[in-house]
């Protein structure tokens, strides 16, 4: 049995002073000493690029890694809607406290209050920083920044750059990073994938990577290692995540002793384009803003095969407006998603595969005119038409929920350090801040908060204690052993010589995880998944076919290792969901719902973070609990009626 005790290291005192006091209490490294420290940053999305650039500006030696061909390609680039900042520029009553409150409540009281408060505090600095870098946020005619309301918030605190906010924020961070590369303070390694996290005497001392162009396996040593490697939504196979997003970096860290928290907290976004057939490789998100003017409905009758325009008003069920009269079509993501699942499961779905619901702009077009509607949503309509060949100005859009974001991830303390000393997790890769459900426009905020404003301080505090110590030589046996593990794995995959592609197994695994651990979960299904996933995994390990060799480009080899980690993770998601005998946020246990079908939390027994410890392949992980304390926001039942 392990001896891990989870210490969140949350500072004491009034919540609004905790971060400032903590910053004051942390040890500093003087400028001349900073350059004696090497920090490895893995990932160049918002969190990684921001951290690498900032640490380099401070004077640390940074080595930065991404498997992409350029830092600018990280998945953050795809975020559309916007980023929150508690600026109260609209004078509509927003404040740091309100953003804090909304985030704790939106997370269904499963996040750490102190972290959320800090996130809200630094949100204002993020906006300043991004503007200084030249992020072209939308403006009003007077030249001030424009804001919109997003994801059901009652204030306008979302900053945006057309429908390309993630792109513009990432380009800002990427440019700052490239400047540091030019100055020689960051050594950038693109096309370089982390495959092992290396420890010596219980402390993280570096990583082993494979160059995906040449196949070269190499060790890197550093005083601290930061993982900013994104989320694991692709465990479902079909998701809105980029094709190459994966859990491998986090998972290899987990295998080295970093606890993995709240794996079952996944977010299913209500407005995506439904799959068209089983060759589909990924799903496309349609911005949530469409719900401002679109009405969601399905036919009242089962198996109603009439085209939408032949179904009269009285035969339509505007189910969100019916169930949630006050929020209607703007009900939060988890609620809107589950409601869609209910009607599709009943057999009232629409489209050729009956796997969607209508999002209808007919009424808005009558009320506002074609031009206004097109002006608001034209670019989204074009994108939709490119994919489906249907024009939403003429026929209602079809949408269905899809995996979009993962709240779970590596457990970190207040300093963003995992349970492995010297190993940090930033951005979507960690579990902090969003609890069981993330609010719209808050992931970009968290990635940049971690990267620009939190890790650069907290990492310094750790490094200060290492003054005078060098890095561990990459010739050390710990590195050689990790390299061996990587090489052995490559050879094992290449020698199986089965009959099916890696992709095939990812798709099959994804179906299991989606069916049993998707929008609604129950004990039977989860137990079934826990027996079916290992069985599929066994077949995968015997029958997968990976061609070619380990040298040079081998995309199947890259994929197969990632899929193996998704197998482990898929199991953990189910185990975590089975353990959590309550419903909260994105985790809906069918057995735990109110009379009218809403999520029923159990604060008495489940007000904790569930963090799992790896015990070796084939053995179930051990659960550790970090109790959650709510001193400022009193847990209540969320209601959007």
């Amino acid at each position: 049995m392990s001896t891990i005790t989870l210490d969140s290291k949350v500072p004491s005192g009034p919540i609004q002073d905790r971060w400032d006091n903590h910053k004051f209490d942390m040890k500093l490294v003087n400028p001349a000493n900073k350059r004696k420290f090497t920090v490895l940053v893995v990932g160049t999305g918002l969190a990684g690029a921001a951290a690498a650039a900032t640490l380099a500006e401070l004077g640390y030696q940074v080595k930065c890694f991404t498997f992409h061909d350029s830092p600018r390609r990280a998945h953050s680039i795809a975020a559309q809607g916007g980023i929150n900042g508690a600026k109260n520029y609209k004078n509509d009553g927003d404040s740091i406290y309100r953003l804090f409150y909304d985030t704790v409540k939106g997370g269904d009281f499963r996040a750490r209050e102190s972290n959320v408060y800090r996130l809200s505090q630094v949100s204002v600095n993020i906006i300043d920083q991004c503007v200084a870098q030249g992020v072209p946020f939308a403006r009003e005619y007077g030249g001030l920044l424009d804001n919109r309301s997003f994801g059901g918030a009652q204030v306008s605190r979302t900053f945006y750059a057309r429908g390309q906010t993630g792109q513009q924020l990432l380009l800002g961070a990427y440019q700052a990073l490239m400047q540091q590369v030019a100055l020689g303070r960051v050594e950038l390694h693109t096309k370089t994938e982390l495959l092992e996290v290396v420890k010596k005497d219980g402390v993280a001392v570096g990583i082993v990577t494979r160059n995906v162009t040449t196949g070269e396996v190499q060790s890197w040593s550093g005083h601290a290692t930061l993982l900013a490697t994104g989320g694991y939504g692709n465990a479902f196979y079909l998701s809105t995540n980029a094709m190459n997003s994966n859990v491998t970096a986090a998972w290899r860290a987990h295998k080295q002793g970093a606890l993995f928290a709240n794996a079952c907290y996944t977010q299913i976004h209500p407005t995506c384009i439904p799959a068209s057939d089983d060759t589909q490789s990924k799903l496309t998100l349609m911005s949530e803003s469409l719900r401002n003017d679109g009405r969601i409905w399905v036919p009242k009758k089962f198996d109603d095969n009439r085209p939408a325009d032949e179904i009269p008003e009285e035969d339509r069920d505007y189910y969100l407006e019916r169930k949630y009269p006050s929020y209607g079509n703007l009900a939060p993501r988890d609620i809107a998603s589950r409601a869609a699942k209910v009607v599709v499961d009943e057999g009232r779905g629409v489209g050729p595969l009956k796997n969607g619901v209508y999002l209808d702009f007919g009424e808005s077009i009558d009320r506002l005119g074609k031009e206004t509607v097109f002006e608001r949503y034209g670019n989204l309509f074009d994108m939709y038409e490119r994919i489906t060949d249907e024009d939403p100005m003429k026929v209602p859009m079809r949408i269905y929920p899809a995996s979009h974001y993962t709240m779970g991830g590596l457990w970190v303390d207040y300093n963003l350090m995992t349970t492995v000393p010297g190993l940090y997790a930033l951005g979507e890769a960690n579990f902090s801040d969003h609890g069981a459900n993330r609010l719209g426009a808050s992931a970009l905020m968290q990635g940049l908060a971690d990267g620009y404003f939190v890790a650069p301080y907290t990492v310094g505090d750790y490094l200060a204690g290492l003054l005078g110590q060098g890095t561990v030589s990459t010739e050390d046996p710990v590195f050689k052993a990790a390299e061996q593990t990587v090489n052995d794995a490559s050879h094992r995959w290449l020698s199986i010589g089965g009959t099916k592609s890696p992709e095939y197994y990812h798709r099959e695994l994804g179906k299991l995880v989606w069916d049993y651990c998707g929008m609604a979960r129950d004990q039977n299904g989860l137990e079934k998944a826990l027996s079916e996933i290992p069985a599929l995994r066994e077949e995968f390990e015997k029958n997968v076919r990976v061609l070619g060799n380990p040298e040079g480009v081998n995309q199947s080899l890259e994929k197969v290792g990632r899929i193996a980690d998704f197998f482990d993770l898929g199991e953990l998601m189910c185990r975590d969901a089975l353990m959590r005998e309550e419903s909260c946020g994105g985790h809906f246990r069918v057995e735990h719902q109110t009379e009218d079908g809403e999520a029923l939390r159990d604060d008495e027994d489940f007000s904790f973070v569930g963090a799992w410890e790896w015990n070796g392949a084939g053995t179930a992980q051990t659960l550790h609990k970090e109790p959650l304390v709510f001193e400022n926001v009193k847990p209540t039942q969320r209601s959007y009626k």
């Binding site: 921001a50 500006e57 061909d69 350029s70 600018r72 390609r73 998945h75 680039i77 795809a78 600026k87 520029y89 600095n125 300043d128 920083q129 991004c130 503007v131 200084a132 870098q133 030249g134 072209p136 946020f137 939308a138 403006r139 007077g142 030249g143 001030l144 750059a161 390309q164 792109q167 513009q168 380009l171 700052a176 490239m178 400047q179 030019a182 693109t190 980029a242 094709m243 068209s276 057939d277 060759t279 589909q280 490789s281 496309t284 994108m383 490119r386 994919i387 489906t388 060949d389 620009y452 404003f453 009959t499 592609s501 992709e503 095939y504 061609l547 070619g548 040079g552 480009v553 199947s556």
Partner: protein, 254 residues
Amino acid sequence: MKLTLKVWRQDNVNDPGRFETYEATDVKDEMSFLEMLDAVNENLIESGHEPIVFDSDCREGICGTCGLMINGQAHGPQKGTTTCQLHMRKFHDGETVTIEPFRAAAFPVIKDLMVDRSAFDAIVQSGGFITADTGGARDANEILIPKPAADASMDAAGCIGCGACVAACPNGAGQLFTSAKLAHLGLLPQGQAERWKRTEDMVETMEMFFGSCTNYGECQEACPKEIPIDFIAMMNRDYLKSKLKNRKLSGQKY
């Protein structure tokens, strides 16, 4: 539908490369071009042949990772559309489709349809940023930016760095990409302090890697984000001025 694919296969940068022919069967209208290739690859793997290497990631037209020459056109026949967003309904049964990498002197082929576009990063590294170290920024609303300026900057900032402009250009020039970055930063008040140095450095770095622009205009036609060549004219004007300005800024008399 059924298609015949003529696909460029090349083992590495030194291999001369060749076209191979494959049949794509069961192609459906709703498939994207890359999903069609995924299906071909799965069949190749299951029949013991190495799959075709090509790059993609977001498959939403925003990351700039994908990019193929399809029947001689960068990103294929649909205007304003990346390869990943192109759908098979734009093709017809029985058609032969030729698929090649984005060829250019500055983009060496890594394998098959995958090319090395790191020359773009080198251009950005030489000056494509506004110096603003973390922490020192003033309140965001203290900088007023007229909406038209913010909008024009955003038009340029929409470049996804895919390289179609280079692949489409008979000279393999990098002007559209470089000018888009310069315009994004140069149209904003925050970008003024470094404007002239940035222009000179980026243009000269670009010239180290890429061919020269002779105004064919193919780049604008191929660009999936429809970045206009007007930005190239802006860049050229700024470059001429930058020579003078930079000398003046460094205290030289002229």
